[in-house]
């Protein structure tokens, strides 16, 4: 594979950043103490990491010598992952709250309303 240097650097940066994000998200999933804290790692960091890797793949298969035209396969996967990650996170939170209703935090205290406001 022969790519221009700038593209090579960009691909390496995207792949490195993506792998780092995925690793950080998974480490958060393994490390944090509570389910609702653990949910942050995969739904944000790991999804971003996958997005970086998919962009790198898109660039590589578009500018690789011997292929004509843009490669839009990855756009499909990226769109799907970015659409479904919040939905599954929301459903998981609802499931966790149904399993353990005591985990729901107390509603904030009603403040006394100032007169005239």
């Amino acid at each position: 594979m022969q790519l221009p240097l700038v593209l090579d650097l960009l691909l390496a940066l995207l792949i490195g950043v993506g792998a780092g994000f995925a690793l950080i998200g998974s480490y958060g999933l393994a490390k944090l103490s509570d389910f609702f804290k653990r949910l942050h790692g995969p739904t944000k960091a790991t999804t971003l990491g996958v997005g970086c890797v998919l962009i790198a793949s898109m660039l590589y298969f578009t500018f690789r010598p011997g292929t004509g035209g843009a490669s839009l396969h990855e756009l499909l996967i990226a769109l799907f992952v970015f659409l479904t990650a919040p939905v599954s996170a929301h459903l998981l939170v609802k499931a966790a709250l149904a399993l353990d209703p005591g985990a729901r935090p107390a509603p904030p205290q009603q403040r006394a309303r100032k007169p005239g406001v």
């Binding site: 594979m1 390496a12 999933l29 389910f35 790991t46 599954s88 998981l92 966790a96």
Partner: protein, 90 residues
Amino acid sequence: MIVATVLPFAAGAFALALLLNLYRLLRGPGLADRILALDTLYINSLALLVLLGIRFGTAVYFEAALVIAALGFVGTVVLAKFVRHGDIVE
């Protein structure tokens, strides 16, 4: 070729991420933790497949990654609904 040097390290990072997910899947105290770990496992393996596609220069792996993305989402939704309602189809 910088990409070829970076790719093995990235694949190693993803493999480590998969191991961390597996730890949470086996260990996780609650049912929701396990479902979340399974969902993350799907997403990480999808990214690993895309990396393999770059490494070997073939587009064959995309279809596998797409199928994993679709089935992973459906599996997570079904498991979460089953935990919540005790039934999949309402």
